[in-house]
């Protein structure tokens, strides 16, 4: 007896749950691969530790068609403007994973050339430590990101509009998304 025999014809649910469920299982990725972590990314996407079974199947090599940006490997100051530009070119909803310890905090390259963590350039949703992380860690990070996407309010990106409305109505001054309250 399969699922199609059990479910009724109409189900009631919340729109946010359905949208979150659909978004998390169909992530189009943009692998911004620079360094050694790229080898482990390649291994995760290949046949043994298959990333496609979690819905993250195709690397779309254009930021306009992707919604998950994997920043894989060390980012240095020469490449930083390009990373910011690529993030800006992606359409919302978009998420970012910092893959490896060089992208999360700079790794053990603490010198004039490297950016000490990409969260100084773009906002990040998941950090994967490891040098390089094992494929099991990468899949774990993908699952955690999927859990996060599933519970996001689906009007997350309407914050500008809501902020304007709340300030006009004067209820609570809204906080912009990337500043802490003083």
């Amino acid at each position: 007896m399969g699922l199609e025999h059990q479910l009724p014809e109409v189900i009631t649910t919340r729109l946010e749950s359905v949208v979150g469920w659909a978004r998390k299982h169909s992530l189009f990725q943009y692998p911004f691969v620079t360094a050694c972590c790229g080898m482990e990314y390649m291994a995760t996407a290949a046949a043994r530790y298959d990333m496609a079974r979690f819905g993250a199947e195709i690397p779309r090599f254009s930021p306009r068609q992707a919604d998950l940006l994997w920043v894989v490997g060390t980012i240095n100051h020469k490449l930083a403007p390009f990373l910011r530009r690529i993030h800006e070119q992606m359409a919302e909803p978009k998420w970012v994973i910092a893959f490896g310890v060089c992208a999360s905090t700079g790794g053990f390259y603490d010198n004039y050339a490297t950016v000490q963590g990409i969260d100084k350039i773009i906002p990040v949703d998941a950090y994967i430590p490891g040098c390089p992380p094992r494929p099991e860690q990468i899949i774990d990070a993908l699952l955690k990101l999927q859990d996060k996407i599933a519970v996001e309010p689906w009007d997350k990106y309407a914050y500008e509009e809501k902020k304007r409305l709340r300030e006009e109505e004067g209820i609570i001054p809204a906080l912009p998304l990337f500043q802490r309250p003083e």
Binding site: T34, C36, M39, M42, F61, N76, Y109, N111
Partner: protein, 407 residues
Amino acid sequence: MAQDFNDSFDSYDPIDQDINNEPMILQMGPSHPATHGTVRFTLTLEGEKVLKCETEVGYLHRGFEKECEAATWTQVFPYTDRLNYVSPLLNNFGYALAVEKLLGIQVPERCDWIRTLMGEVSRLSDHLTGIGAGALELNAMTAFLYAIEGRELVWDLIEQVTGARLTVSYGRVGGLKDDLTADFAENWKYVRSRLMEIYEMTHKLLTRNRVFVDRMAGTGVISQDMAISYGYTGPVLRSTGLNYDVRKDHPYFKYGEVDFDVPIGSTGDNYDRYLVRMEELRQSIRIIDQCLANMKPGPINTDDPRVMLPSKERVYNSIEGMIAHFKIIFEGLQVPPGEVYSYTEAGNGELGFYIVSNGTGKPWKIHVRSPSLIMMGGVHKLIEGGLLSDIIPTFDTINMIGGECDK
């Protein structure tokens, strides 16, 4: 009225129109799937033909040389792993050889055998990645999956011996981190049989494939004189017909005592480079078999007290052992002052280390002669004059690794 129509038709001559026929400038930017790592090409195209190509590297410059000046001699090993990150053991052993030359110490025989063996295992991983990624970019995804499965098997072997899959830090000055595991020979037998199957399957898929041959043969040609002048070594130089392999010409470790052939190409195009790499896979398997057959049990680390950490019993039970341990770790090995240039054969060509020491525990300067950076200096000669779509197989068969190129 027919007259008017014909007149207006005659005055419209498409050849007199102002057609814009300047060459187009195209950026193949730093984040591109076909550039392994981050390289930027500024191409001047006329139709599909490349007139001029300007290369720009440095998008992965991590300051290797400056970091090494602030670390002790043993702390440099993790940095060398990340140079050519698909064959890290070859870099480790190249650097260890250079420092041992400066110190003037000899490692035991078993260490040399294991270094030869693990170096060739790493070279297998390098060539499998190169062939697999190259096939992927020419849209042969099945060959990619076969090659990556072969690489996973090789990484399983490396993980059993060293503890890590990719960045291993297995070499030490004067020896190695650990001996081989007891069941290494049996695991190698299984991996070897699977690798031969994968080699046969990839060979059947690619080598006689009409589309593959059309894209690879005759593209990216370089002549032998040009290759020597632009500093190419490794499979690229051997594909032009010159028989230069550091393992045969200036043998180090145990390469003088094992029997292997060096594949030489003839035309210097992409197809020859692909064939050279495939044949080097088989020769590496041959070398590993001979190493396992000829190795005898024995110590793997030299017992020179300036260089080797004392055993744990002596460290915890005697004051001399504790002081020796403390000084070697905190101050680093005391390498006598001098300079040396030592070179080994890495996956892409000749990897050289020019090391300057001033007598303290930290190096004064380490310069890496990285084959990839030098190849990128001459890659415009391979690309100019060809088509835009020939850049992809050319770049794959050169196998530029970003970590090595930008140090």
